[in-house]
Subunit: 381 residues, 2 copies
């Protein structure tokens, strides 16, 4: 009765998730389409075009480049673009003004040197991990604007006028992005991070159930059937670092909404994610026990089956409890209650295990998991 509990909901939830995700993708696409039409009106409606002219191009560019899937990503890119443009434009203008006095040849040499120094410095800065994480895009836009302004030879009045026009169209583009992003079915990176961290507890619990089911199924079905356990949930937990980092980065940009306050502790999610990955690595290594050619005898296995399954299911249920408590943002039962239950189960198994020899193969890994779960509880509780 354990197998279906493990495999059936995981398939159906996968399909549901896929369905959900696809409709979410479609909604995002439609939002981009709407934003593009809105900025295109700057070109298409004569009175608006008379106001902004060719600079409407920058509004379209801004929408295409800045509109990202998550609200936080859109905000961070837009702000980066704005600040990068202003600073780059300022530096570029300064360079052009300084180089202007040096005659035609001197001007060209001065600008070339400035372009080289600025390009090298900005590229080096972009490669620094801390900048790469936070404002890579802003530095790129800085470099782009700096070069265009420094090199173009437009000066004085004209450049100020041009800068104002361009910035205002970039602002219009960004405003349209923010409006559509926030007002039509906003996709919050914070929700995604919250739910994905919470659902990982369930994935690990499923893997533990699956492992135990598989381990003792071998006995029942006399090794006729060796269909592998589905470790994909466990694996996706294991490889979630980059996704988490990205989501937490965007989540910090997102304004107060729903259940998240302004100073929601996003770093905590990264910490929990790290602990979950360690737990996933431990669970994953059970695969070695399942696939090992050296298997304990049926009787030995049968003798410890009950205790193992009890430990496994109480592990799984405490994981699920922790996951639920994160999902619903309720406090879960006091830590000592959960831990003491696990401890008593593992003591039972321990007592049973001492006389067994090869049987230890399985139990110790169970204990290793238990020790990880204790760590987890240290954090979550």
């Amino acid at each position: 009765e354990r197998k279906p509990r493990f495999s059936f909901p995981s398939i159906s939830s996968f399909l549901r998730e896929k369905g959900q995700y696809d409709s979410i993708k479609l909604i995002h696409s439609i939002k981009v389409g709407i934003s593009l039409v809105l900025v295109s009106l700057l070109y298409l409606l004569k009175p608006l075009y008379d106001q902004v002219g060719e600079n409407a191009m920058w509004a379209i560019m801004t929408v295409v480049v800045v509109f990202e899937f998550f609200v936080g990503a859109t905000l961070s890119k837009g702000v980066n673009r704005g600040i990068g443009t202003v600073i780059g434009g300022g530096f570029g203008l300064a360079t052009a003004v300084i180089a202007e006095d040096a005659g035609e040849m001197g001007n060209a040499i001065g600008v070339a040197i400035a372009v080289f120094v600025c390009g090298t410095a900005a590229t080096y800065v972009r490669l620094l991990p801390s900048i790469k994480k936070t404002c890579d895009y802003g530095v790129m836009i800085f470099l782009l604007t700096f070069n265009l302004v420094a090199v173009s030879g437009i000066r004085g009045e004209t450049v100020v006028q041009l800068a104002r026009a361009r910035l205002s169209t970039i602002g219009i583009g960004f405003g349209v992005c923010v409006f559509t992003s926030l007002c039509i079915h906003p996709m919050w990176a914070s929700d995604e991070l919250h739910n994905s961290v919470a659902s990982r507890f369930e994935a690990l619990a499923c893997s533990i159930d699956g492992c135990l089911g598989e381990y003792f199924k071998l006995v029942e079905e006399k090794e006729n059937q060796t269909g592998g356990v589905n470790f994909s949930g466990c694996q996706s937990v294991l490889y979630s670092t980059d996704k988490d980092d990205m989501l937490a980065k965007f989540a910090r940009w997102e304004p107060w909404h729903g259940k998240f306050g302004f100073s929601h502790p996003w770093e905590k999610y990264l910490d929990i994610g790290k602990e979950l990955r360690e737990a996933a690595a431990t669970i994953f290594s059970l695969k070695g026990c399942l696939q090992s050619p050296r298997q304990p005898s049926s009787t030995l296995r049968q003798s410890m089956r009950e205790q193992c399954e009890e430990l496994g299911s109480s592990l799984a249920s405490s994981l699920r409890e922790l996951g639920d408590s994160i999902k619903t943002m309720r406090k879960c039962r006091p830590r000592f209650l959960i831990v003491s239950k696990l401890q008593s189960k593992s003591e039972e198994l321990n007592l049973l295990m001492s006389p067994s020899k090869l049987g230890a193969l399985k139990n110790d890994d169970g204990l290793a998991i238990a020790s990880f779960v204790f760590q987890l509880m240290d954090i979550v509780g």
Copy 2:
């Protein structure tokens, strides 16, 4: 005598790598600086400016946006940009021509509908995983160009002329990027992938050495000192998925060079990386044994020390051998020689282990690692 072998080279190699990497970053930055100066000459030198005019802006943009760290990344982005621009321009022109006949109001409505449909479709396509991996940037440029051309209302002769001028400056920018990227100290994603996969064997071997050292040090130093093992190498192996995928993607774009032919099997590296991650997860789970509050008695530990250390060091040395054989692209010793040695060691440990009870804690994990190494050898051998 095991500890220094583990810690000293890893620190010095870390410093050397850091030094190397920083100088490599600097070289890349200088390359970008040079490329920017070269394209700026289109503006700065009067005869060149007379030829290309304001369109020189597109060359600068191309360099800033397309020049990436690895040769493969630059090539892939440049080709994506070129193709995206051509197709987007074609579609945009077609839309503009079709909508032209519909009168001013009809024209605006027609273009707006086309912009909406195209924007929605392109954004949806960009979110599909297979497109996102291969030509996300190309689709974005397609969308950008399509919008600019469809909306701008430039027609016929002018648009062809403008397209030719823009494409040629984009081509100049891309040419400059490729030239600098290939001729000045090229950074090959393929080298990086090759070396990083090969060096991971060493990292895993170090972790195994470190684990065993730590485990038996506890005995010697009577648990006065519990300085943790350095699992960072193991951890970085564990979290290498995204980096590998990216490097393999770029490596496919890179032309024949050095020891790599045109059809070098890059997927194999991804397979090896996957197996290494599974092995890393197993090694990582040893951490649970090291940190567990339940430790076997000193005498028990001492009694199996020799066999454990022999198994561990032969595991580590076979990992190093495999890593070297990948690094130097030589065939390593026949598989059965390596495997048989490991098997005999694990048999020894096995014999010793049977009477021990809690001692099994450690050995079984060793065996789990052994089974993973066997898998590894299946692939590499």
